[in-house]
């Protein structure tokens, strides 16, 4: 699984499940500005990546620096799955 694979799957999930069709979103867009996701959206997104990539997030992982953008989240997911958490 490459970084761009993970990015693409996360983007597909956000576009299809979390935002209305007129919202455009790119890997480097600010995810937490309030314009794209709300707190429920964040919880669903966290649940999605944990399920999809079979790893478990710890309480200390719910940090802005892990969810800032799709690119950053993809990096975090790859790190999480490779350390086998």
């Amino acid at each position: 699984m490459t970084a761009s694979d993970v990015e693409r799957r996360i983007l597909t999930f956000i576009r299809s499940e979390l935002v209305s069709s007129d919202v455009s979103i790119n890997p480097d867009d600010e995810l937490l500005s309030g314009a794209i996701l709300d707190s429920m959206g964040v919880v669903r997104l966290a649940a999605f990546v944990q399920e999809e990539y079979q790893f478990k997030m710890q309480p200390a992982d719910f940090m802005i620096e892990n969810f800032r953008s799709v690119a950053v989240l993809a990096h975090f997911v790859r790190k999480g799955t490779s350390t086998g958490q």
Binding site: G34, D38, V42, V43, A47, P59, A60, F62, I64
Partner: protein, 523 residues
């Protein structure tokens, strides 16, 4: 008030947000600049000024600027649907709007349907606009140490807040300057606020929580640390901010604290600066409350009760986690309020009996905006001392007085439903669900069955690591709820929908549940 804080603590931080800071001197000068800009654009005393701003340092400038202008502040949530914004602007007849460039699209969409609105502060003008625009630089040009002399008295309207209302049509709630100040003075005194304190604002600034977060802070020259949307979504980062900013007083709905206790990694933070934690608006699930009290041993906890109509009117300071009783009282009346528990005829009930809570006091609203009939229903007159009449607000909440004089909450009248002839409190169903170990959060809601009875359904967030099923949850309820009070179905969800204050949005749950039925039917 801001001018006083600016004189007493000119260099102290009034507000901080995302690394930027506004001192009391700067805040006072900009707020006076905004007031002058509003007056120069024709604003008259009591004209309504909507404030549509994102979380940031413009918020206190907008609030104090409008209040200093003699206009009536109408805070609007920029995240509301445009139709809701239009409804509020039209119902209040707002003539002026304070906003900022990144809200341009929302503002333009809303104003297309608001013919009364003539001036927008904070946007650049462009050709073809029906209203006049003044950029924020105008506010800076007008900045001044002196508040304009507009002759406002305490009983003049200060602001009109709104709640979503159970029907989705907003209720517009108007408070005077005197009512806001009465609450602010009570809070500053009760929680011994000083200029060393650092508050936050978790709830949106258009809710009644802002009265504490902003105005009580300014009363004593304390700092308000404004939370960005990202911090509201990331409990770990929020906990880290509480530590770094040495937050000393917190006020929010319980949900925010539940998120902090479950996902904020509080055990690894040094939060000894936090001395008061106030919460209101919903029941605090006991298991989460006990846990966070253990995690924050240096903080005292205070359960405050009220509504946007009354502001805070009763309060209860919690004992230690070990001494917590099974249910949490809403406590006793604040020193500026009187409470009365009455029956259907508005006659006081015998001590200890259940009844509706009436509140009288200087923090009660002046009334709902433009609704004289509704005001007569909820602001009732009662004879007093043989020759007087006193005005009480009907809260709609069912309460009971305990032996120690504390009031305890029984149910909101509108959360009390009939199921096959039995009275059921939806909050009891939620408490029962939360008593199950595998439940992190729960909400119960009623689906009318068309025969003056209702079916109860619930939505549940299961605890991290639990793989519970609907069947297991229903089985778990067998021991704790009578069968008529058990939900007919439980949806397992990842998160509960919330109102802007952070309360569970039961309307949204009901709507999506009914929508789900329709989808099933059409299959």
């Amino acid at each position: 008030m801001i001018d006083e804080a600016a004189l007493g603590h000119p260099k102290a931080d009034a507000a901080r947000c995302d690394g930027a800071t506004l001192s009391y001197e700067q805040l006072s000068r900009r707020a006076n600049g905004l007031a002058r800009a509003l007056l120069a654009s024709g604003l008259k005393r009591r004209d309504r000024v909507a404030v549509l701003l994102g979380r940031g340092l413009n918020v206190p400038v907008g609030f104090y600027g409008v209040l200093a202008s003699g206009g009536i502040l109408v805070p609007v949530d920029p995240k509301s649907p445009v139709e809701q914004i239009v409804r509020i602007l039209r119902a209040t007849g707002a003539t002026h709007l304070v906003s900022e460039p990144d809200k341009r699209n929302v503002v333009l969409k809303a104003l297309a349907n608001c013919p009364d609105l003539s001036h927008v502060i904070g946007l650049d003008s462009e050709d073809g606009m029906r209203f006049e625009c003044l950029p924020w630089s105008t506010v800076d040009d007008e900045a001044s140490d002196r508040q304009p002399d507009v002759g406002v008295i305490g009983l003049d309207p200060a602001y009109v807040l709104h709640t979503s209302g159970s029907t989705g049509i907003p209720k517009l709630i108007q408070h005077s300057h005197a009512s806001a100040m009465s609450f602010v003075d009570w809070a500053a005194n009760e929680y011994a606020l000083t200029s060393d304190d650092r508050l936050t604002n978790h709830s949106s600034h258009h809710t009644c929580f802002a009265t504490f977060d902003y105005y009580a802070a300014a009363r004593v020259g304390a700092t308000t640390v404004i939370l960005t949307p990202a911090l509201l979504m990331m409990p770990g980062s929020l906990a880290s901010l509480l530590e770094d900013e040495r937050i000393s007083v917190w006020y929010s709905v319980p949900t925010a604290l539940v998120q902090l206790t479950l996902r904020g990694d509080l055990d690894s933070r040094s939060l000894s600066a936090l001395r008061w934690v106030l919460f209101a608006g919903e029941r605090f699930p006991q298991k989460h409350l006990r846990r966070i009290m253990e995690q924050l041993p240096s903080a005292r906890f205070s359960h405050v009760y009220g509504s946007t109509e009354t502001n805070v009117c009763t309060y209860y300071h919690l004992p230690t986690a070990g001494e917590l009783g099974h249910s949490l009282p809403i406590g006793k009346a604040c020193s500026n309020s009187d409470t009365l528990v009455v029956d259907h005829d508005l006659q006081p009930v015998a001590g200890g009996d259940e009844g509706e809570l009436l509140v009288r006091g200087s923090t009660v609203m002046s009334g709902y905006w433009g609704e004289p009939e509704r005001n007569r229903e909820v602001l009732v007159r009662r004879p007093s001392a043989g020759a007087l009449e006193e005005v009480y607000f009907r809260t709609g909440d069912r309460v009971r007085m305990l032996d120690d004089g504390n009031l305890t909450f029984v149910a909101r009248a509108d959360l009390q439903i009939k199921v096959r002839g039995h009275r059921v409190e939806l909050e009891e169903v939620e408490t029962a669900l939360l008593s199950l170990e595998m439940v992190e959060a729960a909400a119960a809601f009623a689906i009318p069955d068309g025969e003056s009875s209702s079916a109860i359904r619930a939505a549940v967030v299961v605890a991290a690591g639990s793989a519970s099923t609907e069947r297991e949850l229903l089985a778990g309820l067998d021991d704790v709820l009578p069968s008529h009070a058990a939900p007919s179905s439980i949806a397992l969800v990842e998160a509960l929908p919330r109102t802007p204050t952070g309360k569970v949005d039961r309307n949204a749950l009901r709507a999506s549940s009914i929508e789900g039925d329709r989808r099933d039917d059409s299959k």
